[in-house]
């Protein structure tokens, strides 16, 4: 069955790179380095050394010190730890947070949970291209703001925010700046020591590592600037007390190897992906009455999100079921609402509901792009011919 499908959902998750899987295998079996990294015996020390080697590898790629990396179960946990941890830890200073309407659910829902605890959240709306300006953030900052939490790259549209410029604004104010970089880590270069970012979330499975492992970068305390994080889970005091729980050596080795490979290959891989993305974008738009969602240039090399006028989303998704992709269609969603991200960008319900995210990656070929464009054109044409005329978008 899978032989017939084209995978265009790399933004949802990626397969584990075989080189990563091979590296991980060494840490699972009785003959491998399976011991608890917290154990003091030689086998434990060997596991701990592997964990710390991976941590150092990740830190080198992200341009920060190794002790700034805290391992978690994924970006959702990292987001929760950063947002709830900082808000609660800094509560004495203020109870105001700034985030965005178009954030990932992990960011939005963590902020909403804090609203129930009495925190106040200002929800920024990006412009029609999905961009949040530094001025918007400046205008929203208040004396009692302790945290600003935004996505680096939007998970639906791929739009990339100028976190350097926004971070400067936040830094001048004194609040903490958290960035969810689940979609951009391993795809865009990040030099965290040089960026005015205090906290950053990432997930291994978005860059060909395993699922179930992620990280939170936490900037080292600076004079006059100390960001207190209250941990979410207790017991054992692992990860400097920020994230208790036995360290998953194989997962940590996996995320380390995956990020190292992504960094090593970025110089060649990014131009290849950009060329594929443009080929895909041009092919989809050539069908006519197909609108690109999000900023045309400031976006990831891996995501193309379009709205298709004159067709209903679920039908096009079913017609294209030989392609694994994501849709903003509401037909079968529990909320009954089409993509809140696209509606926040000003798309009406019909266009938000007929939106499709094609996301490409390491194993996407030119032949697959051409096949997807051909199938898309064929099915859009068929469904439009089936529809009453004139078409109503």
């Amino acid at each position: 069955m899978h032989d017939h499908m084209v995978y265009m959902d790399y933004a949802a998750t990626t397969p584990v790179d075989p080189r990563v899987a091979e590296a991980m295998f060494t840490y699972l079996t009785p003959s491998g380095i399976f011991a608890n990294p917290a154990s003091s015996h030689a086998m434990g020390r060997a596991a701990r050394e592997s964990v710390e080697t991976a941590r150092a590898e990740i830190a080198a790629v992200l341009g920060c010190a190794a002790e700034c990396i805290v391992f978690t179960s994924g970006a959702t946990e990292s987001d929760n730890l950063a947002i709830k941890g900082v808000a609660r830890g800094m509560r004495k200073r203020g109870q105001h947070i700034i985030s965005e309407k178009t954030g990932h659910k992990a960011v939005v829902d963590a902020c909403k949970a804090l609203e129930k605890e009495g925190f106040e959240v200002t929800w920024l709306t990006p412009d029609e291209q999905g961009v949040i300006s530094p001025q918007q953030v400046r205008d929203a900052l208040r004396e009692d703001t302790t945290l600003v939490s935004l996505l680096h790259a939007n998970n639906e549209t791929g739009v990339v925010q100028d976190i350097a410029a926004i971070g400067e604004v936040v830094r001048d104010h004194g609040a903490a700046f958290h960035v969810d970089a689940a979609q951009s880590t391993g795809k865009l270069p990040l030099e965290l020591e040089a960026l005015p970012v205090d906290l950053l979330s990432a997930s291994g499975h978005k860059f060909y590592g395993p699922k179930g492992i992620g990280l939170l970068y936490r900037r080292k305390p600076e004079p006059g600037r100390r960001i207190r994080i209250e941990p979410l889970q207790h017991g054992g005091g692992h990860e400097l007390g920020l994230r208790s729980g036995t360290l998953a050596t194989h997962q940590i080795v996996g995320i380390g190897r995956a990020l190292a490979i992504a960094a090593e290959e970025m110089e060649e891989e990014v131009p290849r992906l950009v060329a594929l993305r443009e080929r895909l974008t041009n092919g989809l738009l050539a069908v006519g009455d197909v609108l690109l969602n999000g900023h045309p240039e400031s976006r990831l090399p891996t995501i193309v999100n379009v709205s298709v006028a004159g067709v209903e989303g679920e039908s096009l998704q079913l017609a294209l079921r030989d392609i694994a992709l994501s849709t903003g269609s509401a037909c079968n969603s529990a909320s009954g609402e089409s993509s809140f991200v696209l509606r926040a960008l000003g798309r009406d319900d019909a266009l938000a509901g007929s939106s499709f995210r094609f996301s490409i990656g390491r194993w996407t070929s030119e032949g697959e792009i051409d096949l997807v464009v051909e199938r898309f054109a064929e099915e859009v044409r068929r469904l439009r011919e089936l529809a009453p005329a004139p078409l109503t978008a």
Partner: protein, 125 residues
């Protein structure tokens, strides 16, 4: 391809009608036409009816909507054949809904189909 669709959501009958819907199309000069739409579902269904005396000789449809809407419109276009014109005003799509079947969270499709057929009973082409 059929294997790739979720069988809990799409029955074979729905898939068959969605892929190659009997009754899809239009007449050059229909005797009756009727449409209904649902903004929430981004759907619209229209029927064109050709009469033979006071009875429906043939019906065709055009539809924009989810797969179940397209399948239901296709099934309705076949069910209309042979009905008396006056019966269209009280057309009951229940057997179409249960026959395909249409899932519980989409039962409003029945109203969409019935409204479009009712409109066709009242409007000249």
């Amino acid at each position: 391809m059929k294997l790739l669709a979720d069988p809990d959501v799409y029955s074979d009958a729905v898939l068959d009608r969605f892929e190659d819907p009997p009754g899809a199309g239009w007449f050059d000069a229909p005797d009756r036409v009727g449409c209904a739409s649902s903004k929430i579902r981004n759907s619209q269904v229209c029927f064109a009816v050709r009469l033979d005396g006071d009875a429906v000789a043939e019906a065709r449809f055009r539809a924009r909507g989810c797969p179940h809407t397209i399948a239901a419109a296709s099934a309705a276009s076949e069910a209309l054949r042979g009905l008396a014109l006056e019966a269209l005003a009280s057309f009951d799509a229940e057997s179409i809904v249960t026959g395909l079947p249409i899932p519980a969270n989409k039962l409003d499709i029945r109203i969409l189909i019935e409204d479009a057929v009712r409109a066709a009973s009242q409007q000249d082409g």
